[in-house]
Amino acid sequence: MRQQLRFSKYCWFFIIPAMLANAGMARAQTTTVEDRLHLTPADLEGFEKQAKEDVMDFGGHVEHIASKNYSAFLRKKYIANALALFADPDENTIQVSSIGITADFRTESIRIYLNNLLRLSYATVDITWYDYKITQFVKGADGNYYATATVFQEFSAITGNTEVKQSRRDLVKREIQVELIKLEDYKGAKPVPWWELKLGDIKIKQKSLSQ
C-alpha cells in the first residue's frame, strides 16, 4: 500500500512533464496554423510580384483576345485563361469608357467585357507598357488583404475591314483591385488555411492620342 502510494506520489513527476509537453505540442500545432495565415512583409512582397505577373498576363490575354490575327479557338482559350485570374469574373466588374464620353462610364462584368472584345475584332493591336505600380496590401474587415495595381499603357489598334479602316491610339490606365483571399481546405478533419491571389474589379481611364 505504501509502495502504491509512493508510486502515485512520484508518478506526477512523469505525468506533469508529459502533460506539459502535450500542451506545448498543442500550442505548437495552433501556432503552425496561425503561422500559415500570418503574412510577413516578405510574404506580401512576394504576393506583390505575383500580382504584377497576373496583371501583365491579363494585359497579354486582352491583347490576344482583341487581335484578329489569332483563331477564334485560341482567342477563346485566352478568355478562359484571363477569367481564371479573377476571384469571380461574373461579379468582378470593369469600367469601360467610350470615345467622346468623359463623365459616365458603363460597367460590365469581366466575362461580358472579354466576350465583347472577341466581337470587336481589331485587325492589329499593339500594347506598350510604360509603368506599373502596386500599393501596399491593406487588411480588410473580412480578414483578406487588398491592394491596387496600376498599369499605364499605350494601346494602338486598327479596326474595321480592309476597305474602311480606323486607327485608334489611346493612353490607357488600368487600376486593378488585387485580392489576397484567405481560403480553407480540409485535410481530414482539420482546416488547412492558405492564401490565394486573385484579381478583382478594374477601372479603366482612356485618353485618345489619335491626331
Binding site: 463623365a103 458603363r106 491593406v138 490606365k173 487600376e175
Partner: protein, 269 residues
C-alpha cells in the same frame, strides 16, 4: 523667402504648362515621362505627400520636397495657383517638423462618390459619403456615412404651411391627419418646425425598396481633414500632361470648429 517660393511656383507652373503645350504625341519618351510623373492612385498621392516617394524634376539632380508638394497641385487651375491659401498650405506642410503622415485608414479621410440613380424614370445624382472604419480584427473597410441629394430636401419654410393639423383636431379623431397622409406632396408641412430628415436612412430605404435604381458612378473625390487647420480635396485629372492623376483640386483653411460644422452639414442633415 516668400518671393523665392512664388518664383519657384511660377517656374514650375511654366514648366508643367509648356510641357503640356509642346506635347509631341508621337514622342514615346514623353509618354514614359507622363506615366512616371502622373500620380497614378490615391496611395501614390499619399506616398508623395508623406515624402515616402520623391520624383526628380527635369534639370534637377536630387528630389526637392517643395517641388514635390507643388507637383501634387492641379496646376492647370489658375484660381488654385493664385489663391494665397495654396502657398500658405504648401509652406505649412513643408515646414512641419513632425510630418503628418496620411494613410488610407485615417478616420478623418472622407470619400465623396457621385452616383447616378434613376428615380421615376429620371436620372438623379447623389453624393454618397464614405469613410474608413476600423474592424475588430484589425482590418478596415469603407463605411457609408452620409448622402446628399435634393430629393430629400424639405420645401422652403414648412412652418408657413397652408396645411396643418389644427390644435383642436384631436376632438374629431384627427380628421386632418387623414388628409395630410392622402396629399403626399404636402406631407412635410405637417412636421414640427425643428424636424430635420435623416437623409441616409431615407436613401437606404429608397434603394432597398427599388425606388432608386443605381446606374453608375460618375466621379470620386477625397476630402482630407488630417492636417490641422486645413481641408483639401483630391480629384483625378487624367490627361496627357506631366501634372496629372490624383491632384489637389481645392484647399480650404478650416479650424477644428469649422471642420465639425463641415461634417455636420454633410452627414447629419
Amino acid at each position: 523667402m516668400i518671393m523665392r517660393y512664388c518664383l519657384l511656383f511660377l517656374l514650375l507652373c511654366y514648366t508643367a504648362i509648356s510641357d503640356a503645350q509642346n506635347v509631341v504625341i508621337t514622342d514615346e519618351q514623353f509618354l514614359r515621362d507622363v506615366a512616371h510623373f502622373q500620380v497614378k492612385d490615391v496611395a501614390q498621392f499619399m506616398d508623395r505627400f508623406n515624402d515616402q516617394e520623391q520624383v526628380v524634376f527635369k534639370n534637377d539632380t536630387a528630389p526637392d520636397r517643395y517641388k514635390n508638394l507643388l507637383g501634387l497641385l492641379n496646376l492647370r487651375d489658375t484660381a488654385l495657383r493664385r489663391d494665397t491659401n495654396t502657398i500658405a498650405f504648401i509652406n505649412e506642410v513643408f515646414g512641419q517638423k513632425d510630418k503628418k503622415q496620411l494613410t488610407v485608414t485615417d478616420s478623418d479621410l472622407y470619400a465623396a462618390v457621385q452616383c447616378v440613380f434613376v428615380y421615376h424614370g429620371k436620372e438623379k445624382v447623389f453624393t454618397v459619403w464614405l469613410k474608413p472604419e476600423a474592424a475588430e480584427n484589425g482590418g478596415h473597410y469603407w463605411g457609408l456615412i452620409g448622402v446628399q441629394s435634393d430629393l430629400f430636401s424639405l420645401p422652403n419654410d414648412p412652418k408657413s404651411a397652408r396645411h396643418l393639423i389644427n390644435p383642436m383636431n384631436h376632438e374629431v379623431g384627427f380628421s386632418e391627419l387623414s388628409k395630410g397622409l392622402t396629399h403626399k406632396k404636402d406631407i412635410y408641412e405637417y412636421m414640427p418646425a425643428d424636424y430635420h430628415p435623416e437623409h441616409l436612412s431615407a436613401f437606404l430605404a429608397y434603394v432597398h425598396n427599388g425606388d432608386l435604381q443605381f446606374k453608375n458612378i460618375r466621379s470620386v473625390d477625397f476630402d482630407f481633414l488630417q492636417i490641422n487647420g486645413w481641408l483639401f480635396t483630391v480629384k483625378e485629372f487624367f490627361r496627357v500632361d506631366l501634372n496629372s492623376g490624383w491632384l489637389i483640386a481645392d484647399i480650404k483653411r478650416m479650424n477644428e470648429e469649422q471642420k465639425k460644422h463641415f461634417l455636420k452639414d454633410h452627414f447629419i442633415e
